[in-house]
Subunit: 232 residues, 2 copies
Amino acid sequence: MLISKDAAAALEMRRSHSLATLVQQEIERLILDGDLKAGERLNENALAARLGVSRGPIREATRGLEKAGLVKLVVNRGAFVREIGLAEASEIYDLRALMFGLACQRVAARRDPGRLKILLHLVKRMDDVRRDADASAYYPLNLEFHETLIGFADSTRLAAIYASLVKEAHLFRRRALSSNVNMAQSNAEHRRIVEAIVAGRASQARKLGEAHVLAGKRRFLAAIGGPERPTT
Amino acid sequence: MLISKDAAAALEMRRSHSLATLVQQEIERLILDGDLKAGERLNENALAARLGVSRGPIREATRGLEKAGLVKLVVNRGAFVREIGLAEASEIYDLRALMFGLACQRVAARRDPGRLKILLHLVKRMDDVRRDADASAYYPLNLEFHETLIGFADSTRLAAIYASLVKEAHLFRRRALSSNVNMAQSNAEHRRIVEAIVAGRASQARKLGEAHVLAGKRRFLAAIGGPERPTT
DNA sequence: AAGGTGAAAACTGTTGACAATCTGCAGGGC
DNA sequence: GCCCTGCAGATTGTCAACAGTTTTCACCTT
């Protein structure tokens, strides 16, 4: 190896991510961590000083965040952190359900053996931590399962939209949604989805995938919205 | 009226659209009209000179176009007009079908009388021009019908994604797709969709809406792709 | 003649400064 | 006392210049 691994990583970082991209990721983190609260205005000068760059990259980053749905841009007034209400959160769940269902369908239509093995393995690992009632271990696995399946759909556009929706969903006022998932039921749904995929039943896989996300939506609404009627 | 209509329009233009937004629309037009060909690089200096602005707004505009999927950005090399292949075009149809289906479902679930009237009127107008075999009049009406229905779904995110997909689809190499639509069949599908909506049959409306776009996809593939097997 | 090398040109990334716009507040008119 | 007008501060929109990288091409080596 000609250069150290760290140096190579740093170079690769510089090669793929321009400064504006790094700034965007940082602001994204600030927003999702709650350091920048909903409705708050993003002061370009303050951010530039805080991140040690000029206002140019900050501006590019905020434009990117607008397209991602994290901030709202008002001409001559700047960028404001978006606040997502219950109705919008519900819509986002609906859209995510569509995307996930389509992904399941596409994966079932292709049925790549190596990929099926990976999905089965993920379900198995989730079953393991479920038996230990380890919710903190279940959450990242659950996330990985969904993202892996989306990736296996081999559609960059689908993956991009799905990622955008997931980010946007995190804007909802409270994100105490990871703790109270019913691991047993959730993973049972996972298993049925993967079984349908393995069997090549594409349209059933789609239905199950969609229903899985919509079930998550119902649990979410029940936990957060309280006395809310299902909108769909 | 205090000021002339033109002046009011100009002011409203300046109020809602910053220079970068106008530049983005102009570059968008250049791309979709084919003045900027697929794979071609966008020269910031040349565009700035051509549009009479500085490079700043050009850069912001290209970043916006990247998020819209019209160009691909490469660090230190610039922006390139994206070229869309058959597979991607097919994926975009699939996603559009999902969006349109969901929109139909939502409109059917709400059933606003005024809106239903507008949809029925559009179908009627399309039937009129269909009888005259006036394809050039049918195309914009067809577009208006779809956009109106999407708008009636009352989901900004859904509308945004749909608009983005439509724009992206226009990147496909040939867009001789407007001429050879089967107006009779297309509008028969429209009518069935609206009927399902009027009847409040939400899930049926969704199925019909989705099938309508997928039928368009099949016609498109048959006309363009030639001996292509259906991918889904 | 083919391939590699290095400098120059072209271009993008970034910065700091200037112009235009908005917000807040004080002062005057009704 | 309340509302409108106008100035001051702050902030965004735009621009032109500088720095770093990529590409091009002439030149040299083999």
